[in-house]
């Protein structure tokens, strides 16, 4: 019906079978019903959110205070909300895959091969591009400008555009659940499998455009953060005084600037192949997929360190704060971070030792890979020596840091095994590899982000998170990780290929059962995390830390109220050392009002970001479905938005001195009325954000 008349130009490739409900109606298998259920969940979720906002009458507030905001703190929080939403989806997908594999031993299981392939493709793509990246970008966005004593990032509007490009791309991932299907080519999208000849459907196109939008957003973010660190530091904040988190943010930004374009180029060339009949990576007419593998991993390996370095920064802050001790080997840590950033560009071939290049090349890249282990090991020892002769407090962020150090070392162990080409030949593409990179990224990224979330949450929202549920969630993340992934090492060593929908040998069964239990524990961990948020919001008044310093913090970010005012600092601070606020507290009273206040100028909200993000996603949707009219309108609308923005005159808002003074006075009064807390009781409701200073 829709292949005739005016429909093809309007609807492009769409027909009713693109809807999972129709597919499930016509072919009611468990697999299709799960697909339709997921689509229904997306729709219900969207409807509930819309109804709720309307009922509460919060549209105007949401639009003017959040969605169009250029405040780096609000943008950071929105990134992290996005990360949690996407984490939920991707974790549920992971559990489904494990359940299928546990069920599908000499049995078809309940998820069809094509559906299973979409699950592992979305799981990987989401976890990397729409969970990990937004989480770390959000954390850097919130914390880094505060730590360097700045009022915002260097390019606030660009920041909003990056957020909305990422959000638009994530939205495209969600739409692919409801309309059409996703790629089955994995998160790395290797051609020729993802070429038109082998995957003619819309799946790879969803993947291409979601990743492209996300990668453009990340490149812009990298530029923004790097310039912020270079140009926006407060007086006295020399490079070698910057908190380690700022250093790792800088290195991550540099990696983003150099690595992300390689990905954009790889996906763009693949798009040219698919849309315009180019032959960059096809089997015929001179195409060669090896070029894609090189381009993709030229991005892909630095990406690993883009993900891990910010977590290293968090651990440096957390271990030092909760040991009440200066960071051991600051210079060593900075050098190690830089060395890792540099070396991360020299090892990409280890992702395809098995592609048939000669032994010299493999050996060189294998040795380069082992070399990265040296600075990484140095960092772990630096954290151990930071605890040495300190006073260690086992708060939730500290527990994550300790779990990270012990678990990450095991991942490093298997990483060195994989760095040996002859050993890699045996376990490449197997569950051993899957276990290895989860062993790196769960402690090396997720634990770090969760540590940062618990650590800085009181700063962002003015109350501490519930300790008990934080610990329950922590225990589940750690126990769940070991039970879910240690069996995969064994299975991988026995040659079980990754991305396998079914197994035929009952000998694997106990290990898959065990891994399945682990996956369920990880799901419980996420549940506990959300429950913790709920409980914490309910008891927010008892755990308020408006004074702003719940952990006897060391950096500038703890020297403002919690949450900080929109302008961060009434007066730009001046820094005299590496732990400015910690030292200030010990030298004299850090809560002294300045002699006078000046007016503060900040960028005003702008709808440019939401426009570009939403229209960008619509443009991409048009490209996926070959609805060319939508693509043309979208591109024109983006150009029009940029032109219109360049004519906008009133792009700043002014905070007059009186208002700043009122806000500051209110906070300083609250500080004066707060009883200082000793470290022994910082995890109880006694803690209202003023640290008791001994000596």
């Amino acid at each position: 019906m829709m292949t005739q008349g005016i429909w093809p130009p309007v609807l492009g490739r769409f027909d009713w079978h693109a809807l999972p409900f129709v597919r499930a109606w016509e072919n009611p298998t468990a697999s299709e019903i799960i697909g339709a259920g997921a689509a229904l969940l997306v729709i219900i979720g969207a409807v509930v959110v819309v109804v709720l906002i309307t009922r509460l009458g919060k549209w105007r507030y949401l639009w003017s205070e959040w969605l169009t905001s250029l405040d780096h703190k609000k943008i950071g929080i929105m990134y992290i909300v996005l990360a949690f939403v996407m984490l939920s989806r991707a974790l549920i997908e992971a559990v489904l895959m494990r359940m299928q594999q546990a069920a599908a031993i000499d049995n078809p299981g309940f998820i069809a091969p094509d559906h299973f392939a979409q699950l592992f493709s979305t799981h990987g793509s989401i976890m990397i591009f729409f969970m990990a990246m937004p989480f770390l970008v959000g954390l850097i966005n919130y914390v880094m400008p505060l730590q360097i004593g700045s009022r915002d990032v260097a390019f606030p509007l660009l920041n909003s555009i990056s957020l909305w490009l990422t959000g638009g791309a994530a939205g495209l991932m969600m739409v692919s659940l409801v309309i059409g299907e996703f790629s089955t080519g994995g998160w790395s999208g290797y051609p020729p499998y993802t070429e038109l000849a082998f995957s003619p459907g819309v799946g790879p196109d969803y993947w291409i455009w979601a990743v492209t939008l996300g990668s453009i957003g990340s490149t812009l973010t990298g530029i923004n953060f790097a310039v912020t660190v270079y140009k926006m530091r407060c007086p006295g904040m020399y490079l070698m005084r910057m908190p380690l988190f700022v250093w790792t943010s800088l290195c991550t930004s540099i990696l983003m600037i150099f690595a992300m374009p390689a990905l954009t180029v790889a996906t763009a060339l693949l798009a040219l192949d698919r849309y315009l009949g180019f032959h960059f990576f096809t089997n015929d007419l001179g195409g060669n997929m090896m070029n894609y593998a090189n381009l993709f991993w030229l991005f892909g390996h630095p990406e690993v360190y883009i993900l891990i370095l910010p977590a290293f920064g968090v651990y440096s802050e957390v271990v030092s704060t909760f040991s009440t001790k200066q960071l051991y080997g600051y210079t060593s840590l900075v050098l190690a971070t830089m060395a890792i950033a540099l070396l991360s560009f020299t090892v990409w071939v280890h992702h395809f030792f098995t592609m048939g290049q000669n032994a010299d090349i493999n050996a060189v890249f294998g040795i380069a890979t082992m070399t990265i282990g040296v600075p990484t090991g140095v960092k772990i020892y630096d954290w151990i020596w930071t605890m040495f002769r300190g006073q260690v407090r086992f708060t939730v962020p500290m527990l994550y840091s300790l779990a990270f150090m012990m678990t990450f070392v095991l991942g490093g162990f298997t990483g060195i095994l994989l760095a040996f080409p002859p050993l890699d030949y045996l376990v490449h593409n197997t569950l051993f590899l899957v276990a290895h990179f989860h062993n790196m990224l769960i402690p090396g990224l997720l634990y770090g982000m969760l540590a940062g979330y618990h650590y800085w949450f009181p700063k962002a929202f003015g109350f501490r998170l519930n300790e008990k549920w934080g610990r329950i969630s922590f225990a589940c993340w750690v126990v769940g990780f070991y039970i879910a992934f240690m069996p995969l090492y064994v299975l991988g060593a026995a040659g079980v290929a990754r991305r396998t929908q079914g197994m035929f040998d009952p000998i694997f069964r106990p290990w898959f059962y065990l891994a399945g239990v682990g996956a369920l524990i990880l799901l419980a961990a996420l549940g506990a995390l959300f429950f913790q948020l709920w409980v914490s919001i309910r008891e927010r008044d008892a755990n308020g830390v408006f004074a702003g310093d719940p952990w006897d913090g060391r950096g500038l970010e703890w020297s403002t109220s919690a949450p900080p005012p929109e302008y961060n600092y009434a007066c730009i601070p001046r820094v005299h050392g590496r732990d400015p606020f910690f030292d200030a507290k010990r030298r004299d009273d850090p809560y002294v009002p300045p002699a006078s206040y000046d007016a503060i100028e900040l960028p005003k909200s702008s709808m440019t970001g939401p426009m570009i993000g939403v229209v960008g996603a619509a443009t991409a949707f048009g490209l996926v479905w070959h609805m060319w009219w939508l693509t043309i309108i979208g591109v024109l609308a983006i150009i029009a938005t940029v032109i219109a923005r360049s004519f906008a005159r009133h792009v700043h808002q002014i905070f007059p001195p009186d208002e700043v003074k009122r806000t500051e006075r209110r906070w300083l009064r609250a500080v004066a009325e707060t009883t200082p807390t000793s470290r022994e009781v910082e995890m109880t409701s006694v803690n209202h954000g003023l640290a008791e200073v001994s000596s």
Binding site: T282, N283, I384, L417, P421
Partner: protein, 283 residues
Amino acid sequence: MKVSRGRPLLFAIPLLFVLSGCDVLKLSVMNHAGPIAASQSHLYVIVGIVLVFVAGPVLLLTPLIAWHYRLSNKNSAFRPNWNFSWTLEGFIWIPPIGIVIGLGFVLWHYTHTLDPYRPIASNLPALKVQAVGLDWKWLFIYPDQRIAAVNQLFIPVGRPVRISLTSGTVMQALLIPQLAGQIYAMAGMTTQLNLAASRPGVYRGENTQFNGTGFQNEKFNVIALSPSDYDRWVEHARASAHPLDAAAYAELFRKSSPPQPIVFSSVPQRLFQNILVQSQEPR
């Protein structure tokens, strides 16, 4: 007393589990059946032992130091401003660098000796096999014997096997964990894999690179036979009167996983070379 009676059982269950579970490692390189896999297994042990000494200190020091210097332990030293020591710097930089240099030599040596392209030294001439990755099956051509098999690779024990690989479709990867590591097979290109079996047996082989909805079915057995048994199998295959003709060839390129291995009594000349140069886009 009640508790202590329950305890052995509590420990016995995981122990039993681990013991029964470790059966799966029979399928891994630890149960190697050829010189390449034996050497790889050996390398695992060497690197593993070195790494125990690398990871061990962190696994011990992290909990010990964190617990000893806990806030509530009033007997531990507290030096909040101590942040550097050249001696410790030496300890954390120099031994790891030394270990990496040492392992670097090991890595260089083994990467060259276990290079999949490197012929295995032997008095016997290598058996030539041409492997073609298809959706979703492997075609093994014996160019000198002029026979072929799908999803079954017969090899003689004690004689090196030299496999040339290509793909008739998307990229695939051939892995036989008990005999040798894997290598990719890519359309329009050839890669090489040298291996040998040192004892008769049946070893699992597979494609490990996802290539579509039949991926999980793309498994095969490598059957290592004594030289005389192998010769008998070749004679038997030749006598089977099931040539790889045009119809069979078209069927091979259809997306499917044959339920049973197939043996072809003869193959067209230069079959592998033709697959290599043709355009492999599906029509």
